[in-house]
């Protein structure tokens, strides 16, 4: 099912006018069609496959996915089977955005409007893929880049990435990471994208809405989605949704969108920031933060405060 612009505007304005009950209104609008089948080989409690489910529902049938090396390379299943009901082009780690550039240009040359979506992990985005992503943004490639961020190299067994927060234990930072998470959103914003957003797997309506909106733009768009990971973050599999909500409710992860440079903080984050929960409530259920040192914790808190301040000020200024 394709989401056309008119339908999206209608959907968007309705949700806008029913701010108090946004979930109820929009839930009915999410198409029943499934493009990610139930037979994935994802880990139990995987949030990235949950995200992808809603991404594809928003994008619809006329979509091609470009996937660099990441958990999704495995989640889609092994040849000759696939759990995906859209074409999925798997490509080398550093090359997803460049591959999408070629694909998008070729589709347009053929007169096709097919959505080209990169679905990449944090390693493939913040680290090895940052050059090709930056290049594709700068060139104005007509595509949507989605980074699903589980804050480490999950597919290879949880090594630290540029997205791993300070203090988090990974298999290559066994005593906790000593440097901060890279601010990929600021880097993306520096490319003057017409539309960019953040989201989180615990808010499927938010994902659906933002993906649908991103695909109404011509040119590059970017969505950065937090993807809690039970084996990597070391929490019970049934807590995946809860973990995403705690990230947002603590302000550690902020949902927003920036359209034509104008920032709007999304409803769940706005609501959460009226009365944020302590950061410890988000960190303590996660094994990766067990025994975090006081200095790292303090840096996390300072960054959280500074980030919220900057975002709310930017929104107020707009």
């Amino acid at each position: 099912m394709m989401i056309n612009n008119d339908r999206f505007r209608e959907l968007n304005s309705r949700s806008f006018h029913s701010n108090l009950l946004p979930d109820l209104v929009i839930t009915t609008e999410i198409p029943k069609e499934e493009y990610l089948k139930k037979c994935t080989s994802a880990c139990a409690g995987c949030s990235s496959s949950l995200i992808l489910r809603y991404v594809l529902k928003a994008a619809g049938q006329d979509t091609a996915l470009v996937v660099p090396a990441c958990c999704t390379s495995v989640i889609q299943g092994a040849y000759p089977n696939t759990a995906m009901n859209v074409p999925v082009y798997n490509v080398a780690f550093a090359s997803a955005a460049a591959c999408a550039s070629g694909m998008s240009e070729a589709f347009r040359a053929l007169g096709k409007k097919t959505n080209v979506i990169v679905y990449a992990g944090d390693g493939g985005t913040l680290d090895i893929g940052i050059q090709s992503m930056s290049g594709a943004f700068e060139r104005g490639t007509d595509f949507l880049y989605i980074c699903y961020d589980n804050e480490a190299y999950g597919n290879t067994g949880m090594q630290r990435s540029g997205a791993t927060p300070i203090g988090a234990r990974t298999t290559t930072t066994p005593t906790g990471k000593t440097v901060e998470k890279k601010d990929i959103d600021a880097i993306a914003a520096a490319h003057h994208l017409e539309y960019m957003a953040t989201s989180c797997s615990a808010y499927p309506q938010d994902i659906f809405k933002k993906v649908a909106k991103a695909l109404t733009f011509r040119g590059p768009t970017f969505i950065h989605i937090l993807a809690p990971c039970p084996p990597g973050w070391r929490y019970p599999t049934e807590k995946t949704i809860e973990m995403g909500k705690l990230a947002v409710k603590s302000g550690m992860w902020v949902l927003y969108e920036r359209e034509h440079g104008k920032l709007t903080i999304s409803a769940p984050s706005k609501a959460a920031m009226r009365k944020p929960i302590p950061l410890e409530d988000y960190l303590s259920p996660q094994g990766r933060f067990k025994g975090i040192d006081a200095k790292s914790l303090e840096i996390l808190k300072q960054r959280l405060t500074a980030n919220l301040k900057a975002l709310f000020e930017e929104e107020a200024a707009a």
Binding site: Q76, A78, Y79, M84, V91, A92, A97, A98, G102, S134
Partner: protein, 370 residues
């Protein structure tokens, strides 16, 4: 139409006439003139094509891959470090069975920075599944580029083709060029597994050993089948346009006692050396290897062989010499010459033949016989 052109411009003209839909490229000396010329064709409306100015060669090949899988004709050009930087993606292009055509302007590898001709860059790509052809004149660069699209896209091949031309000594020199109207010589591209959102498929996903092994054999089978496709394409080209090409270009080989083998511009220069040697009463011939992958069958029975390598595999030897020795179970006189653009004249080549020591290796200008 007759004109004067550089090797680079001749390649660009051939690409223009092949009507690709997407060209993605990154500048590098001595290739840059190719992509500059194509960018100019696209910008001025002479080519109905998307030109993607990527930020690296890795991305150039990635963009060609992304474009090619939609079923459109795709081209790029590179050289030396650019070629090696895209090495991961050249493997991907061949493994994904995408008929991308690429011009590689052969150049040495750093350090130190040296921009002149050498074949080591392309030799490091020899095991990727690409077809490789080495040309020796501006005309041949043009003709071979046109043929490359037809060969790559043939349904019995569906593998990428690399057209190699020597940096500066061919890329930047001016020679006469007779351009053609290809007409239907290159049929419309039809990629049987192009992306179709109405019939979605997975590409390049997780593959078990059993299937991976099968896919690798299919690449080998197709590269073997490409010999016939190349032969037919070159034959049809000769019939339509009057210029003949083959897996090798042989000069005065029939009655020769000693054969001088080389690739690229050296291979053409060797013909002059042969004439000099013949005047001296030495029954020499020259054999220029054009298609390096698939590697041609050579008729060397009963001949002495001198091979000039403009490349080297450290700890092993001249790559072309060793491929010839292994394929033909013979010994050769292996001359390493022309690395980093070292000047080698036809007189030097004649001297290699005169002073040949079969079974030995000689580094021109550096060592005595070793």
């Amino acid at each position: 139409m007759k004109e004067i052109s550089t090797g680079n411009k001749a390649v660009a003209k051939a690409v223009k006439q092949a009507l690709p839909k997407v060209v993605a490229a990154y500048p590098i000396t001595p290739q840059t003139e190719i992509v500059e010329t194509i960018a100019d064709y696209v910008t001025s409306g002479q080519m109905d094509c998307r030109y993607i100015p990527v930020e690296s060669e890795h991305s150039a090949m990635a963009a060609c891959i992304g474009a090619s899988i939609t079923g459109v004709r795709t081209f790029t050009a590179t050289s030396a470090h650019g070629l090696l930087y895209m090495h991961e993606m050249t493997n991907w292009a061949a493994g994904a069975r995408l008929p991308i055509v690429m011009a590689n302007v052969n150049r040495s590898l750093g350090p130190g920075w040296n921009i002149w001709a050498e074949h080591t860059d392309a030799m490091q790509e020899r095991d990727t599944g690409w077809l490789q052809v080495y040309v020796s004149t501006v005309q041949e660069a043009y003709d071979t580029t046109i043929m490359a699209f037809r060969i790559a896209e043939h349904n019995d091949v569906l593998l990428p083709v690399m057209v190699n031309l020597d940096g500066f000594s061919l890329s930047h020199i001016m020679q006469p060029l007779d351009t053609i109207e290809p007409g239907d010589f290159i049929p419309p591209i039809h990629l049987p597994y192009a992306i179709d959102t109405k019939n979605p498929m997975g590409y390049g996903g997780l593959t078990t050993p059993e299937h991976h092994f099968q896919f690798r054999w299919e690449i080998e089978r197709s590269i073997r089948d490409s010999e016939k496709v190349i032969r037919e394409t070159e034959k049809d080209f000769a019939k339509r346009f009057g210029r003949k090409y083959g897996p090798t270009e042989n000069y005065r080989c029939e009655d020769a006692d000693v054969i001088l083998i080389a690739m690229g511009t050296f291979g053409k220069e060797a013909e002059v050396a042969v004439d000099i040697l013949r005047k001296e009463g030495i029954k020499a011939g020259s054999m220029r290897i054009r298609w390096f992958r698939p590697f041609p069958k050579l008729d060397l029975a009963g001949k002495e062989v001198v091979v000039i390598d403009r490349d080297y595999s450290f700890g092993y030897g001249g790559i072309l010499a060793h491929e010839i020795m292994a394929k033909n179970e013979i010994k050769v006189y292996s001359v390493i010459a022309g690395l980093g653009g070292q000047e080698v004249t036809y007189d030097d080549m004649a001297e290699f033949v005169r002073t040949r020591r079969i079974g030995e290796e000689f580094w021109f200008g550096v060592t005595k016989h070793v």
